[in-house]
């Protein structure tokens, strides 16, 4: 019993030390966002602001058009998360539970293209978006990156482990293929849906490159673009940058907290080893 106690204490101390190390950089950013600009780079450096101010928040919210950036980002993140989950779950299902010609080829191509750095094919992508009239439209940020190989990969890995017997039983009962997917597979996929949803939401929320390719119109920009706008050619507006960075973190944390129930507990329950 005593040994257990010692073990537990070590366990806790280790966790707390690691957690502190993990949080320190984030805390530094958050606390710095309450410092007046003149205090940011003053020696001696202090952890807490000597003079607390919310001026940075006021001015960063007034710069440009924050409500518009915010609602654009929410719209893009939510809609694309929905599309991403559906498109990838279906593809993952096809790759996990059907045997057909070219299955491995398709999967390999997907994984291989995961590796192409987007920067490399930016110009052809831009021209393609132009052909489809998707430039300066939020749909241009939503649709093209919706088919993520990562999502397909995760969905497939999860669905492979679902027992085939359920699907077979449904088939014998005469269920249509699509209704098997929607009635049986989808409800059983909650954990992986939650996982892909969180990952997708996070990625969309923080994504900078796609909006950069697609959007110039100020009324269609996202928060990450607004953040980058604070870094100029010759000057950096640190205080506004830090304040808006902090604001931008909050929604992802909320979404994470809302979904984490499914995220953590669900995966184990759902994955019956085949």
């Amino acid at each position: 019993m005593n040994k257990q106690k010692v073990y537990n204490t070590i366990h806790y101390v280790l966790l707390i030390v690691l957690a502190l190390a993990t949080l320190l950089p984030v805390l530094w950013v958050v606390l710095s966002s309450f410092k007046p600009q003149s205090e940011l780079f003053r020696v001696p450096l202090t952890f807490l602001p000597q003079k607390w101010t919310v001026q940075n928040y006021v001015s960063s919210l007034q710069a440009g058009n924050f409500p518009v950036y915010f609602s654009n980002t929410v719209f893009v993140a939510v809609v694309s998360t929905f599309i991403t989950v559906m498109v990838n779950l279906m593809a993952g299902y096809a790759l996990a539970k059907y045997i057909f010609k070219g299955r491995n080829l398709i999967f390999t191509i997907m994984i291989a293209t995961l590796m192409i750095p987007l920067q490399v094919i930016m110009i052809p992508i831009f021209l393609q978006l132009k052909n489809f009239g998707m430039l300066n439209s939020l749909w241009g940020i939503i649709i093209p990156p919706a088919a993520t190989p990562t999502g397909v990969f995760l969905a497939r890995q999860y669905l492979v482990n679902l027992p085939d017997s359920l699907i077979e039983a449904a088939r014998i009962d005469g269920a249509k293929e699509y209704s098997i997917f929607f009635r049986i597979i989808l409800p059983m996929s909650k954990p992986i849906v939650a996982t892909i949803a969180i990952f997708s939401f996070m990625w969309r929320w923080n994504d900078y490159l796609w909006p950069l390719i697609v959007i110039t119109d100020n009324k269609k920009q996202t928060i990450q673009q607004a953040l980058a706008n604070f870094v100029g050619q010759l000057q950096i507006n640190w205080s506004d940058l830090l304040a808006m960075t902090t604001i931008a973190i909050i929604p992802v944390i909320i979404v994470f907290l809302a979904f984490q129930r499914f995220f953590f507990s669900g995966i184990a329950a759902g994955s019956v080893k085949g």
């Binding site: 280790l14 966790l15 690691l18 957690a19 993990t22 320190l24 950089p25 984030v26 530094w28 001696p44 450096l45 498109v87 279906m90 096809a94 790759l95 059907y98 045997i99 057909f100 390999t108 994984i111 291989a112 293209t113 590796m115 192409i116 750095p117 920067q119 490399v120 094919i121 110009i123 052809p124 393609q128 093209p144 088919a147 990562t150 397909v152 990969f153 492979v160 085939d164 077979e168 293929e177 699509y178 996982t195 996070m202 923080n206 900078y208 990450q224 980058a228 830090l242 960075t245 992802v252 944390i253 994470f256 907290l257 984490q260 995220f263 953590f264 995966i267 184990a268 994955s271 080893k273």
Partner: protein
């Protein structure tokens, strides 16, 4: 089992329909541009000029381009260390946090996950405040206590170490989550049986945990390898690839050649080489995945 499945799953239309939206989007917006990129690698092409076919000239030049090969070896070093250390650290975290026995476990999980919620630009900014040579907190504290600062980002080797460290910090939480899920999927009875048999903790870990976690570890490996080959924002913010070429990865070089030096064709050739290398990586990893599936 395969035989059995095949007998029932003869429909070919259904899987294709399920795949269709994905293939359509993916094909139009990634594959087609990528193929265009391939064609461009055989041309000389600036953004305002029409491409001119020059055969393999770009690839010949690439073979002798010392900067490219430097970024190539940097990429390998960065990926190797980042991926393996992330796997070790994320697994350690997951092992500390998967049992649902300790108080506050969920809070800890969330705390470790927070860095993964940040954009890489934010991560870079945060760590510059910490690792900066003159203005960073760590060196400031070291100097206050009488020591001398450590050139975290100014020394070539240390800069690589710093970048790898920050990458691990930023992503470990994400993979920890996947690994926790994998650990929780291992039936408890197995552990109970092992305890009854008097197996040591190490033995249980190597005999039960690791083998059963293999498919999850593979997911983590594939995803983190991919992420490591694309590390662009973090390095741009933290070191700009420096000092000199010490932390410059292929992606940085591709970007610079394409957009600052205006040589789209040459940059395409570089990315083709990058893609080839990664494909080899993936193939190797697939060898493992393939084997694993046969077990089931």
């Amino acid at each position: 089992m395969k035989q059995h499945t095949k007998g029932n799953f003869h429909q070919t239309a259904a899987p294709l329909l399920f795949l269709l939206p994905n293939i359509l989007i993916f094909g139009l917006f990634i594959i087609v541009p990528a193929i265009q990129g391939l064609r461009m690698s055989f041309t000389e092409w600036g953004v305002f000029t029409t491409p001119r076919f020059i055969g393999f000239a770009n690839f010949v030049e690439l073979a002798q381009d010392t900067v490219f090969w430097k970024t190539f070896s940097n990429t390998i070093v960065y990926s190797l260390f980042t991926v393996s250390l992330i796997m070790v650290y994320a697994l350690a975290l997951a092992l500390l946090l998967y049992k649902n026995t300790i108080k506050g476990e969920k809070i800890f999980r969330s705390l470790f996950y927070i860095p993964s919620l940040l954009s890489m630009i934010t991560v870079g900014i945060a760590w510059r405040f910490i690792l900066g040579d003159e203005m960073g907190i760590i060196n400031y504290l070291l100097r206050q206590s009488g020591g001398s600062g450590i050139p975290w980002l100014t020394d070539g080797n240390l800069a690589m170490v710093s970048i790898i460290g920050v990458s691990i910090w930023a992503q470990a939480g994400y993979y920890m989550i996947i690994l926790i899920a994998g650990l929780q999927a291992i039936p408890l009875e197995l552990y109970e049986a092992a305890t009854i048999d008097g197996a040591s903790t190490t033995k249980t870990f190597t005999a039960i945990t690791l083998p059963l976690l293999r498919s999850t570890l593979l997911v983590v490996m594939v995803l983190s390898t991919i992420a490591s080959f694309k590390a662009y924002e973090l390095i741009s913010v933290m070191t700009k690839g420096g000092p000199g070429y010490a932390t410059k990865l292929i992606v940085q070089q591709v970007y610079q050649v394409a957009f600052l030096e205006d040589r789209m064709g040459y940059a395409s050739a570089m990315s083709i080489v990058l893609m080839l290398i990664i494909s080899i990586f993936t193939l190797v990893q697939f060898k493992f995945t393939g084997k694993e599936q046969d077990y089931e």
